[in-house]
């Protein structure tokens, strides 16, 4: 054996290991952190930009009338931009996309200022113009030569309204054409009215000059190229991140192998060395050099386990000095995490084979845990003394990496808590354990009460921070053996293994609520987030995992309903809510086949007395549940996927009936059918409608499809596509409950809607002395005038009295409108419909 070469090879190994550490380890980690932080900031910017856009649109349509929040977002975007610019300094790959974004943001500021001023101006002028124009035209002569002026004003009013809605250029031309004749018109107006007219013209000019620019401003803000640039940036950064991460993972695996190989090689080398101890004094000296210079810790004990000698590396790892260790038992390092059985098997192996190797968790002098890879060999000295030589590598870092890799799949990256996958695994284990030990187990669902508020008002970063605070509070509150998991969003679940009983769990729940309702500092703001808890027990409340989860969920919702910041045990009565929903669901499944579902029809009558069609309304008479209102069963149907079958049934039945009545009563009758949100979202809707029309040989125009505003606005791009397809079939489109949701007026025209249905709630107050009469009249008038401008038909729902009808007739003027309501007829079964039709056709409205 050539000792000098061994010496050299040892140093070489150590050098290679250090080099590997230095080159590969911290470099990639720093990069990952930088990219992660950039990702978070880009997400923040994206969130800010989209909230800002949303606000711009809302401000434009008067849904929000306060510039503060949008200003604040503009300021935050500028601030975040400065930070990102700083971080991007070392990442040239992202520079082009970032440059585009910076330019876009810079350009956005002045446009935003213009937008605010113009929006205030146009909104005010529009309102003055509308009310003034109406008052003014009333005072003008309605007949003879001067009636032209009133007519012009009407046209002008509508044109301006359209223009202010962003309906562009033709309207602008009309405005210009009429305003050219200002002097001409002025000459025909009584002198007393002239100042008023001039003011009117001034408002018209303001709208005329500014609304086009306002539309341009809004367009520039909403469709800023910055949005695309940010998305590009996020994508590119994500690409880099994935690249760096996978490289880092590869490096770490390689490194794990290298270090373990090194440890094994060293053990082998030292073993050979120690065997040679007896033979060579030179070897002895060399061993001394190796011993004190080795990067691995070396520990020598006698057969009783008392430490004879340790090397400096070992001292470095453990934090104890040599003098503190010699004479002690290595037990002083024990973390207590390995059981008796573990040590017994280790000693057995040493006695039987003379060696042991494995992973060991110990505690440093500082109290920190560390993980070491240990090779222990039993050796005999020349003097015949038996010793144990341990070679120790600190692999804490490796283990940490390994755990981190594993946690990507099982742990929530934000909070470090078990995710849903691991939670389900733990829940199964806990259930098995409880069953075997005849113990009870409690499952607690926890949902934060105002997480959404925090997220919406302070941004995602603040929301994330709040989730981290909550996680650590929950974690600290429960025992080590309990599981706290994040199921997603702001939902947490806690498994309390070995629950002693409801009292103890209630105490625990009270404690948790107390902890979570303590305020915390998030981004400089003091936030108090309460929580609502739902609790259920295994095996008392449920036998299966699914049931248990559903129970906890229902109990949690009950806690929320009862005013939040509270906990609720799952009770039998709650079981009945779950059961009720299930009953409706099961009932519905059979309802379609067993003809419990049917349609009623309510006629729609135009103001000239002609019956133009009818609306189909779904009814369900259940043998067990009695008459169930659509408001109750439609949501259940939507959730359970039954809506597809229900919708198809309604469509088919309505088409069949319509075809029948068109041959028997009036070939122009049309049928109005409601479409639910889920139906509207379904890809095959247009094909289905086409098939039905074909099956009953109906033209598209026989069918009027009713949708609510919110359904279309949910996803505007998709909504537009569906409506386009339905329109291509010739179907008429109606907006149901118009006025109750957030309508984006500008979309009405783009969506090619034919009918606005004025909601019953606005018709109710018409023609009475009720206090809100004036308001209802104003809404009704606005809808009717809007419909007239866009050339849409109006269907007034819930018309019950002659007064309401008279009022609507007055508001609608020559354009006319359609009414539906008890004044003419209630919804009736198909066999009564013909009689109702004939009665109405004969001009008899008294039903």
């Amino acid at each position: 054996m050539k000792h000098p070469s061994l010496d050299r090879s040892l140093l070489l190994w150590g050098g290679v290991a250090l080099l590997a550490l230095g080159l590969l380890w911290p470099g990639s980690r720093g990069q990952v952190e930088q990219q992660e932080s950039l990702r978070a900031r880009i997400e923040y910017l994206q969130f800010g930009e989209s909230r800002f856009r949303e606000l711009v649109i809302s401000l434009r349509h008067g849904l929000v009338n306060n510039y503060d929040e949008a200003n604040a977002w503009m300021a935050r975007i500028l601030q975040a931009r400065a930070v990102v610019a700083n971080e991007l300094a070392g990442m040239p790959d992202l520079a082009p996309a970032w440059g585009t974004y910076e330019t876009a943001v810079r350009n956005q500021s002045p446009v935003w200022e213009d937008f605010k001023s113009r929006n205030a101006l146009v909104r005010n002028s529009l309102r003055y113009f509308q009310s003034d124009a109406l008052n003014f035209s009333r005072r003008l002569p309605q007949q003879g030569r001067d009636a032209v002026v009133a007519q012009d004003l009407m046209v002008l009013s509508n044109a301006l309204y359209l223009q202010a809605l962003g309906e562009g250029r033709e309207a602008g031309d009309t405005v210009a054409r009429i305003l050219v004749n200002e002097q001409d018109i002025l000459a025909r107006i009584p002198v007393a009215l002239q100042p008023e007219f001039e003011r009117l013209v001034r408002h018209a000019r303001i709208i005329g000059t500014h609304s086009q620019d306002l539309a341009t401003n809004m367009d520039a803000l909403v469709h800023s190229p910055g949005r695309q640039a940010l998305a590009d940036l996020a994508r590119q950064n994500h690409g880099l991140l994935i690249h760096t991460q996978s490289r880092a993972a590869r490096y770490r695996l390689g490194l794990t192998g290298a270090v373990l190989t090194l440890a094994l090689a060293l053990a082998w080398v030292l073993n050979r060395y120690l065997e040679n101890l007896r033979q060579s004094a030179r070897t002895h000296r060399l061993a001394g050099v190796v011993f004190s210079n080795s990067q691995q810790g070396i520990i020598v004990t006698d057969v009783t386990g008392a430490i004879v000698q340790v090397n400096p590396a070992y001292c470095d790892i453990t934090g104890y000095s040599a003098s503190e260790l010699v004479g002690q038992n290595p037990r002083i390092l024990s973390s207590g995490l390995q059981g008796k059985a573990f040590y017994q098997s280790m000693w057995r192996s040493l006695e039987e084979t003379g060696r042991w190797q494995g992973e060991l968790k110990n505690r440093r002098k500082s109290g920190d845990l560390y993980v070491q890879w240990v090779n222990i060999d039993a050796v005999v000295t020349p003097e015949g003394e038996r010793l144990y030589v341990g070679i120790v590598t600190d692999i804490s870092e490796l283990v940490h990496t390994r755990e981190k890799l594993a946690s990507l799949a099982y742990y929530d990256t934000l909070t470090g808590l078990p995710n849903r996958v691991l939670f389900q695994d733990r829940l199964r284990q806990a259930m098995v354990h409880a069953k075997r030990e005849h113990q009870a187990m409690a499952l607690v669902f926890c949902d934060l009460d105002n997480f959404k508020v925090v997220n919406d008002s302070l941004g995602h970063a603040a929301g994330d921070e709040l989730l981290q605070v909550v996680s650590s509070r929950l974690r600290q509150a429960v025992r080590e053996s309990d599981t706290v998991a994040r199921l997603g969003g702001d939902e947490f679940a806690i498994i309390l293994a070995d629950a002693k009983g409801p009292e103890e769990v209630a105490r625990m729940a009270g404690h948790l609520i107390h902890l979570l309702s303590r305020p915390c500092q998030i981004q400089g703001a003091e936030i108090t987030s309460g929580a609502s808890l739902g609790i259920t027990f295994y095996p008392n409340d449920a036998q299966s995992e699914e049931e248990l989860l559903k129970n906890a969920d229902v109990a949690m919702y009950r806690a929320k309903e009862r005013g939040r910041n509270d906990f609720q045990f799952f009770t039998g009565e709650m079981a009945s809510v779950v059961a009720e929903t299930l009953r409706i669901e099961n009932g519905l499944r059979q309802a379609i086949d067993s003809r419990q579902l049917f349609l009623h029809y309510q006629p729609q009558v135009r103001s000239d007395g002609r019956i133009v069609g009818m609306e189909a309304l779904m009814r369900w008479m259940s043998p067990e549940l009695g008459q169930v209102s659509p408001a109750r069963f439609i949501p259940v149907a939507e959730k359970s996927g039954l809506i597809g079958a229900l919708g198809e049934f309604a469509l088919r039945e309505a088409c069949r009936q319509c075809a029948l009545w068109r041959t028997r009563l009036d070939p122009d009758l049309r049928m109005a059918v409601n479409l639910s949100a889920a139906q509207f979202r379904h890809e095959g809707l247009a094909n289905q409608v086409e098939a039905m029309l074909h099956a009953f040989s109906l033209p598209g125009s026989a069918l009027e499809l009713e949708i609510t505003e919110s359904v279309v606005m949910e996803d505007v791009a998709w909504g537009q596509e569906v409506l386009r397809r339905l329109k291509a079939l010739g179907c008429r489109l109606a907006i149901d409950d118009f006025g109750t949701g957030y309508s984006s007026l500008a979309y009405l025209k783009r969506f090619q809607v034919d009918v606005l249905k004025l909601d019953k709630s606005f018709v109710d107050g018409l023609g009475t002395d009720a206090v809100d009469n004036a308001e209802d009249t104003a809404v009704a008038q606005a809808v009717i005038s809007l419909a007239s401008s866009l050339r849409l038909e109006v269907v007034a729902e819930g018309v019950e009295t002659a007064e309401q009808l008279a009022c609507l007739t007055r508001l609608a003027g020559k354009d006319g409108f359609i009414s539906q309501g008890y004044y003419y007829a209630p919804p009736v079964a198909p066999d009564q419909f013909e009689a109702t039709y004939r009665r109405l056709a004969a001009g008899d409205v008294q039903n």
Binding site: V16, L19, N65, V83, S117, R123
Partner: protein
Amino acid sequence: MALVALGAVVVWQDRLRPSPAEPAPVPAYEPPATHQPVTPIPAAHELGLDPRKVALGKRIFQDVRLSQDDTLACAGCHRLTHAGDDGLTVAVGIQGRLGSLNSPTVFNSGFNFRQFWDGRSGTLEEQAQGPIHNPVEMASNWQEVLAKLGQDAAYVNAFKAIWPAGMTAETLSSALAEFQRSLTTPDSAFDRYLRGETAALDDQARRGWDLFRNLGCIACHQGVNLGGNMYASLGVMGDYFADRGKPVAKEDLGRFNVTGREADRHVFKVPTLRNVARTAPYFHDGSLPNLEKAVEAMARYQLGIRLSSQDSQDLIAFLTSLDGRRPESLQ
């Protein structure tokens, strides 16, 4: 050994890489997401300000050494015993020099989206240097001010205790700005009304609030400060400057002086209406002596209407309900 050394160098260099810059401080006030046109103004203690900076800023705000001849403090024009302004038509600088614009109130100025009538400063920090350097106001400069205040050991120590950099133009501005952010006037009758205390407004003020919305005042005077969050053109429905009878001066051009855009001629920052009943005279030129005249002029030039005397009185009752409590840092 060479390899070991190389490894060490690599590790060491890695540590030296600069850490990413910390984000700039977030603004003290985070407006709520709301559909309401106006929101109640928060009290100073809700804003998370640094009390040491506020106290220091308060002293500097009242220190005459900020002016060239040691006669005029910030508080000279922005009087803390009044409503944060001076009650004069235009600002009066050292040696009685006349400025050309009406001093706006410092109360609630922290909620303004920009500072000065023409919005040329983005922050209160940036604003501070304006009056100090203005020859018809304090007529001084940072160098002079720092030299004078630097002799005051109490200041030097107070600054050192807050900022490692000690007293500089930046930290001075920062202290002044923090103090001004503390000058909020919460709990006005109207704010209490907004919070649900319906009896806080009498019938007349409530009619005024309805008019304020229905006539369209609200289109510009909205947000937490009822103004101070956008620019608007003065004279939309009538030529204010032609009727005023005084020649148009450079100050009357407003934002045009900052941007040079024709569209910005006569465009000003919409001023806050908080405590408006106490901050006469009105407009950028201080030419409207009382609320009656100011309301009448606003209606005429911005909305193109003539108010009945009843409407005008109702609006004034509403505007008076915007008077808030004295700022906490002045109590």
